[in-house]
Symmetry: C2
Subunit: 225 residues, 2 copies
Amino acid sequence: MRQTKIESPEKISEKASKQPSKVGKANSLHAKKRILLAASELFAAGGISALSVRSIADAAGVSTIGIYSHFNGKQGILDALFMEGYQMVYDSMAFSTVGLSAKQILLKGVHGYLTLANEYEGHYRLIFGENGNQYEPSDEAREMSSKAFKRLVSHSCIILPPNSAWPLKQKIALELWAFVHGYVSLKHHATSAMISDQHWQEMAVEGISIHIDALIAKYPTSQTK
Amino acid sequence: MRQTKIESPEKISEKASKQPSKVGKANSLHAKKRILLAASELFAAGGISALSVRSIADAAGVSTIGIYSHFNGKQGILDALFMEGYQMVYDSMAFSTVGLSAKQILLKGVHGYLTLANEYEGHYRLIFGENGNQYEPSDEAREMSSKAFKRLVSHSCIILPPNSAWPLKQKIALELWAFVHGYVSLKHHATSAMISDQHWQEMAVEGISIHIDALIAKYPTSQTK
DNA sequence: TTGACAGGTATAACAACGTTATGCTTAACT
DNA sequence: AGTTAAGCATAACGTTGTTATACCTGTCAA
């Protein structure tokens, strides 16, 4: 059942031990990667319910204690997945904007966001706390989410006059985000059974499109190319 | 520690036993109420984390098995709280609309919703699945949520031409709901630490106000009194 | 070479969780 | 009275996240 032995010995110091003085080798190749991979697969397959420490350990071919040696227990696993999710959000906002109008840019971002939310529902639910009490993102994870939000702000402020104040930029970014996220969240909710029309993504884009137009009209200084 | 005995005996048949033929008395006064009250208090105080079967039973002065006699275990408790929450949402939409413009009506509803979400954060999180996998609303609970949504639809369609099709009405209701809920959900999220301005409620009302104006402009047949 | 040391691992255990099987008590009806 | 059915407490089961203990195995120093 359990694989007999791991042939190539491995050790980890990498970053968190005590002094980075003596133990300079620091390879840490297989185990940590295997654990994260197994966790990712279980997570994608069955959501957070399938993510028990023992199931991860079994799937990765390590003992339960391995989850605590290489990660910070379940919290560390969830942190890694949380950051994985936000990294995807962050990456989804890295597209070229040349030759696009302000509205096109925003709609492109919205489309990418919705696609991501659809494809990685597990990550999305984890990111948005739909995981139930039992996880609070670490400082590092919060840093990651802050980074993604800043990129969102810098994208969405193109419909504002160039010298707008930072709180206003934040407000607009939050306004757009709330709208898009609201659609995604309601889709995950029991509500989805009440809605006859199943074309969530189109409905979301349509609604947000209206709002973007309204924002452009409200802040007319925007450089609509 | 545990209170010695419950003086006044109580029995329950009420609705779910087998045949409603013989055991006609059916009082079921104290225990069930006590359990629900205890659960509500624990829930309000500490969210879903504080809601263990044993803690509820202790607080209600019954044994753990009581949670299964009177409710359907934890699922039943959460169902009751879920429906309690949706009942409040439902009630919050029961206000007089005489003498109000369409926009005023919608903003009134939005305000009530935001206030409720702020005051009963636990219920809100439970309703919107931010409870973590471990709860799926029952059919009865879903019925309740559907009822509330229908009232939302009937309120929000006042900005539509009177004879609009049902899917369009649903779409508009969902559009408004998604926006408002998006704000609430983001406020519950790690995001709240990123936002300098803490006036969530005002920001939400402002953003939604813009959108309502846009909708009114788009569907000009609405009877703006 | 020998010794000590440090770190990853396995086993087993702990506490807490939701749930249930087993009996006991008690109220209601024949 | 005697039977029946339902609520109750106790204790247990299985699973969860986490940890204490011991074992093994490399690395470095004497």
